[in-house]
């Protein structure tokens, strides 16, 4: 399966489809709970990560939440 991930070509061997969760795992994404995913231009709900699958030719973007706070500073 040939994908475009964050603007770069990516080949997932021996798979014709894969869930978003599976893809993040395949890509060794650390802290996937803090990742937002866009599939072919649409931002996905986190609750759909196990249900939605990627297929050959799909374009995926993912990025980490960016936030912070004063906390104990």
């Amino acid at each position: 399966m040939n994908l475009t991930v964050n603007g770069k070509k990516a080949v997932i061997a021996d798979k014709e489809s894969l869930s978003i969760s599976g893809l993040l795992d395949e890509l060794n994404v650390e802290d996937p709970l803090y990742v937002t995913v866009e599939l072919n231009g649409d931002i996905l709900e986190r609750s759909d990560f196990d249900r939605v699958v990627v297929r050959d030719g799909d374009e995926i973007e993912f990025l980490y939440f960016m936030g912070g706070g004063r906390g104990s500073c």
Binding site: N6, G7, E30, D31, Y34, T36, E38, I43, E61, L63, Y64, F65, M66, G67, G68, G69, R70, G71, S72, C73
Partner: protein
């Protein structure tokens, strides 16, 4: 010690944004090549808070694509501390998830003398880095 370089105009825009947004925290993304910042993208603080910030993922995706189209990299995330020092808080460190970028803080704790500092984080350990201003 690593180093982040930026033009004085960008440095001043970071401070200006922090002042405009006061008393809320402001945030944004800095792009460039190598360790030289050449682009600033102010972002919405969806928390609209005095002591927290969170970027809008839609804006993040938009900026990431804009950077890519200009063959620039995301070099840093900046945010303001309206009333506290230019140090990363525990929460800043916990949520510093994007690897291989700098984390820049502008403090307005001394309103007449804003302080801007840059940090790198690896394995949740914080290291200060030199922030060099390039004068036009």
């Amino acid at each position: 010690m690593s180093m982040l370089q930026m033009a004085k105009s960008i440095y001043e825009r970071i401070i200006g944004r922090a002042r405009e947004g006061f008393p809320f925290e402001v945030c944004g993304i800095l792009g460039g090549k190598g360790n030289i910042v050449s682009a600033i993208y102010p972002m919405t603080n969806t928390d609209a808070s005095r002591d927290h910030f969170m970027m809008d993922p839609r804006e993040q995706f938009s900026v990431v694509k804009a950077l890519r189209s200009q063959e620039l990299e995301m070099l840093a995330v900046y945010h303001s501390h309206p009333e506290t020092p230019a140090r990363l808080s525990d929460e800043d460190i916990r949520l510093a998830l994007t690897p291989d970028i700098s984390y820049v803080i502008v403090s307005l704790a001394e309103p007449s003398a804003p302080e801007v500092r840059s940090f790198r984080i690896a394995d949740k350990k914080v290291g200060s880095e030199e922030l060099r201003i390039i004068y036009d």
